[in-house]
Symmetry: C2
Subunit: 348 residues, 2 copies
């Protein structure tokens, strides 16, 4: 992206339609393009701009080069009463993600809990859009994906596992859902790049140099590896996500995942796992609402260390931004707007 | 425990029988006592001595005072085809844990995945014994429990959530199971006590003082709160465990959990969640063994930063200790041995 990347607010319905048209312009069916646009616009509504419609840049490149299949339709296969497997057939990630989510909600509606494992997929966006869609329909969720390898194992000195995203949702029938969407690194690489730009050192807990040793030099860190949260604990959690999303799903895992950057026209064969729980089986909406509201209140009532930063519950920031952007428009940067217009014009 | 707490190696079968007799001496049925002894001896086999048979001290106190019911039998109720709820009726934790695990494996055998939520429970030991028992029968597992509040919410200044344990298991049919068993704090309180004893300062990431501010003073830290891994990430994860184990199970959650120390004769009403997945539904044992073995090999092959500390996969340390202790005997300290003998003598 260029530096003068001005941001404008675009009405929600307008940007959602434009997103749909743009992905149709990239060769997706109307149905597939709608799923992809919905997921990415939800990310933008939550303020996750790096994982929202701006991804049309990298998704578009890979769709154009054939690295992602524009025409593929994921296939759902039931492999146990409450388990399904999705073969993404190298379709665009959010389409595989939405197919997997919908299969999971259907299983959970029937059995109370459902597990869907996806293989043959690609980057599926952030987790919180899926958690949100599930929560709106009363489903608690545990969702994860594996990713290109960027993290060294604890005590190791080369990249062997991905900074795999893991997310959780628990619905509050009043709309104040709990949503946690996290990667396993202490910080994102962008924070290290920012430190380098400002010529600042970084905490030794953020990253290692290329030899695997913790470093405070942002330049050495960018040549090295992100450190997982809690040392061996975050390392273990990242492995869990890859075991569920990659190994058990029959997708690629660890170093078998092809790099989006190094092999742009080869299928990544990423995997995802979606566990959905129908909270309607556990108690009434009133019971759940009372408990979820009390849960948040207990946390909010903890006296703040800094009065200007009261305690928050995961999901609050995202849901507040969503309210604001639905009212005032969704921020879209000029580069993204240009790409959306360009691809959409192909089907106009 | 006194300072001269000598440790002896006792044959596995002998200590398991003694544990069973001791819990029978505390009023449990033979069946219940066997479950409790099995879980705690497995913890000792894994080297988790603080969560093994040494717990007979605190469990015994609460069983004697009526804080835990010695005679209660947990009740299992099916609330959806693949979801069950266990009412622990304030029985001893590992009995509730084993009842929950067995119900979960039965559901997973039938539906591929099963969820069991427990309420009315107590401290159920570490997670890894349950993960191990499940893995030995081919089940992957996600298991958690809530706990007495000892952690402040991110940005808050009093204890509102527990250092909830969360564990995962994925079976390797050759016995080299992946097992991750973690609490959400950067370190256990014992590590801070050790620093105080040695008159050393602690890293600012370990704990806060009583006002919620990070501290390097172990004394201030012991008056304050443990910090979760990755700041808001670990805070969020600890909330997830409490939401699943406490809130959705209809047990107590957050500050509703009664303190074992402050209210020793009131039921804690802890909750647990057990998610079990039958890996036999996903592929053959050969398929799983090949992938799990390759997964571990990829990690082991990362060149070690320190040649003396090669990369390990979670579970390896525990399984190696188990092999050794099964051969050479299980370490049991004199205090624990004395209590076991004392309680066991009641039924001799």
């Amino acid at each position: 992206m260029h530096n003068n990347n001005e941001v404008s607010a675009v009405a929600f319905e307008e940007i959602r339609q434009l997103g749909r048209l743009a992905f149709q312009g990239l060769g997706l069916t109307a149905h597939a393009a709608e799923h992809v646009s919905n997921v990415l616009v939800l990310a933008d509504l939550f303020g996750l701009t790096t994982h929202g419609l701006s991804r049309i840049e990298s998704y578009g490149e890979r769709l154009e080069s054939g690295g992602i299949s524009a025409s593929a339709e994921p296939v759902v296969e039931t492999i146990a009463p409450a388990i399904a497997r999705v073969d993404g057939r190298n379709a665009v990630g959010p389409l595989v993600g939405m197919t997997t989510l919908e299969a999971g909600m259907q299983l959970a509606r029937q059995f109370g809990i459902g597990l869907v494992l996806a293989r043959g997929s690609n980057h599926f966006g952030p987790v919180s859009p899926y958690s949100y869609i599930a929560a709106e329909q009363g489903f608690a969720s545990i969702i994860g994906s594996n990713a290109t390898t960027t993290i060294a194992p604890s005590g190791g000195s080369d990249a062997r596992l991905g900074n795999s995203p893991l997310g959780f949702g628990v619905p509050n029938p009043d709309g104040n859902h709990f949503m946690l969407d996290m990667a396993m690194s202490v910080v994102a690489r962008a924070k290290i790049r920012n430190a380098l730009t400002r010529n600042e050192s970084i905490p030794a807990t953020w990253a290692t140099d290329a030899s695997g040793k913790p470093t405070t030099d942002p330049r050495a860190a960018l040549d090295g590896f992100l450190q997982p949260i809690g040392g061996h604990k975050g390392y273990g959690l990242a492995l869990v996500v890859d075991l569920l999303a990659g190994l058990l799903s029959d997708a690629a895992y660890l170093t078998h995942v092809k790099s989006w950057v190094d092999a742009p026209d080869e299928p990544q064969n990423l995997g995802h796992f979606f566990i959905l729980i129908d909270t309607a089986r556990l108690g009434s909406p009133d019971w759940l609402k009372a408990r979820m509201t009390d849960f948040a209140a207990i946390l909010h009532q903890s006296p703040a260390v800094d009065a200007a930063s009261p305690v928050i519950v995961p999901g609050e920031i995202e849901l507040k931004k969503m309210q604001r952007y639905l009212r005032d428009g969704v921020p879209v940067d000029a580069t993204t707007q240009g790409l959306l217009d360009q691809y959409a014009s192909r089907v106009a």
